[in-house]
């Protein structure tokens, strides 16, 4: 894994970790949005979502091998490859997520809530095992295609890659917001989240709306997969498990079911993650050993003291 903890001290150190935290946060937020979109509409915690994200990292690894990519790219080659990877990553995860909904969850829509939840856990295992069969159990390096250039602002190194990731994530979030707020499908999604039966009686095709939630959530996870490969550069079949849980924590922390909460929660958890690694370094084993406990401690505390999250959930108006 990367060296997360910086060596110099003071405010420079703080901002350096903050820069890293925002980058991680952008990725967590993209994945958290997928949890929250699906939960907001069908109240299902899609435990396979982390693995849908992981599959984008795996397929992008396979594509980069097929293209024979080894080293850093520049100029139009870099732009072309990034666009291609983004399109492939988003398409793979969107397709997977939609297929899972169609094959596994749709049949269980009227079943007791535990049934689709367990189905999601089952799908998660299936996706992980197929990935393991495909690329083995090791950590495989993703080629470092992105230049390592960084801006130096008062000693804080801001990598171009991290700027790219932040810009990409914010751009996608803005597009999502516009989609939800200004299009008929966005309105249909909000209406369905609140009262699926009333929405259906107003002419909203509920199956199509649920399909859209999975499609968009999957696509965002796919974009996060590309970011993950560029930053972490290690592909493994089990990546989605922990990454998914952290993103899920972010969604709960922000208020599951609330898209703005997922974004806020994602960035908050990313920043807490990066700062914890540094500032809990005095603990035995170093900050890295404790960071998961801290993040999941936040999950537990949120669920105990503020289950609706920091921004609160849009409480469905059910009768």
């Amino acid at each position: 894994m990367l060296e997360f903890a910086a060596t110099n001290g003071g405010p420079v150190l703080f901002f350096q970790q903050l820069e890293l935290g925002i980058t991680l946060g952008a990725m967590y937020a993209l994945v958290a949005l997928g949890y929250t979109l699906v939960y907001g509409i069908i109240e299902l915690i899609n435990f396979a979502h982390g693995d849908v994200f992981m599959w984008s990292t795996v397929v992008l690894l396979l594509v980069s091998n097929a293209l024979g990519l080894k080293g850093t790219l520049g100029g139009f080659a870099l732009i072309g490859v990034l666009i291609l990877f983004l399109a492939i990553g988003m398409a793979v995860s969107a397709f997977l997520n939609v297929s899972i909904e169609r094959l596994a969850y749709r049949r269980l829509r009227k079943a007791p809530r535990l049934a689709p939840l367990i189905a999601a856990v089952g799908v998660s295992f299936i996706l992980e095992n197929i990935a393991q069969l495909t690329i083995g159990s090791g950590f495989i390096a993703f080629p470092p295609i992105f230049p390592t250039t960084a801006l130096n602002i008062f000693g804080v190194k801001i990598s171009i890659l991290h700027i790219f990731i932040f810009g990409l994530a914010v751009g996608l979030m803005y597009a999502l917001d516009r989609f939800i707020q200004t299009t008929k499908l966005g309105r249909a999604m909000r209406a369905t989240a609140q009262d699926p039966e009333a929405a259906a009686l107003m002419g909203v095709n509920v199956n199509r709306t649920i399909f859209m939630a999975f499609l968009i959530g999957g696509a965002l996870a796919g974009a996060a997969g590309l970011c993950y490969n560029l930053v972490i550069a290690q592909v493994n079949f089990f990546t989605g498990f922990k990454f998914g849980l952290i993103a899920f924590t972010a969604a709960v922390f922000g208020g599951i079911g609330n898209v703005y909460g997922a974004v806020a929660g994602g960035f908050a958890i990313g920043i807490i993650y990066a700062l914890s690694i540094q500032y809990f370094n005095f603990l035995p084993g170093g900050g890295v050993a404790w960071v998961d406990a801290i993040v999941f401690g936040i999950l537990v505390l949120t669920l105990v003291f503020r289950p609706s999250g920091i921004l609160g959930q849009q409480v469905p108006d059910k009768v």
Binding site: K184, A188, A198, A199, A200, L201, M202, G203, N205, Q314
Partner: protein, 264 residues
């Protein structure tokens, strides 16, 4: 109305059983175009189930439901709406975290182009549909007076009870229905509000060329505005006729009002 007219809405010996309970038992109803048709009956008589059957929430165990002569069998609620049946709810079900305008736009959902590309990229056909839908939403609000138009950007949750009822009707009208089902449109309203509601229900029929099916508890409302009334009791239709006929019907008085009560 000539004999040859195709009924706007027809239920043919419709039965709905939930396990051992028969909520609706071989009910026949024929609603002619342009009528205001009321369904009355005591609590648990099966009126709500009839609405749920017509709108596709439930499928009949037996029998068939026809809109302008065409069967609605097997259609999901959104498809029934697309065929031309819209409804309101007894316990108002607006989308409370959406604005009045957005609620009506959801009602107009079917008037938009359906393909994803037009929607995502706001292509001209989508834009013109959106623009048209917003203009139409304002027209529907103005039907209830300028006060309602001024509330267009208010969240539905913040509206007064009577205003929420109005918005719910505007939302239902958004889909340009042929048949409008009103589920106790004056429930919870005081006398003045009820009188106003009776006024706009009658005006609505003319202005939007509607056939209206009404579930209503207040007899003064039903008797005043209905062209025809059907009475349900324990899932069965026990009477049907003109308001004055229903008022005189001994069986109805007994089932609906209990013995020894005279309808005013």
């Amino acid at each position: 109305m000539p004999e040859t007219t195709i009924p706007a809405l027809q239920m043919r010996t419709v039965t709905k059983a939930f396990g051992g309970l028969t909520a609706v038992d071989s009910v026949d109803l024929t609603v002619q175009p342009g009528q205001i048709f009321s369904i009355i009956g005591p609590n648990g008589a099966g009126k709500a189930t009839v609405f749920n059957l017509i709108t596709g929430i439930y499928q009949p165990t037996n029998g068939d439901i026809l809109l302008q002569g065409q069967s609605l069998k097997g259609l999901t609620p959104d498809r029934v709406l697309r065929r031309g049946i819209a409804r309101t709810f007894q316990n108002i079900r607006l989308f409370s975290n959406m604005t009045v305008m957005e609620n009506i736009l959801v009602g107009e959902h079917k008037t938009f182009p359906g393909d994803l590309i037009s929607i995502i990229f706001h292509l001209p056909n989508y834009q013109s549909a959106e623009k048209h839908a917003r203009t139409r939403a304002l027209e529907l609000l103005s039907f209830f007076g300028p006060k309602m138009v001024a509330l267009k950007d208010e969240y539905a949750a913040n509206l007064s009870y009577a205003d929420r009822r109005r918005v719910e009707i505007a939302r239902a009208l958004g889909s340009n229905p042929k048949v409008l089902l009103l589920d106790e449109p004056t429930a919870g309203m005081n006398d003045a509000e009820t009188a106003e509601a009776v006024g706009y229900i009658t005006r609505m029929r003319e202005q939007f060329n509607l056939t209206i099916v009404l579930i209503e508890h207040k007899l003064q409302v039903t008797m005043g505005i209905s062209d025809r009334i059907a009475v349900l009791d324990y899932g069965k239709k026990i009477a049907e006729g003109l308001p004055e006929e229903i008022q005189r019907n001994e069986q109805v008085i007994e089932a609906y009002l209990g013995r020894k009560v005279v309808v005013e």
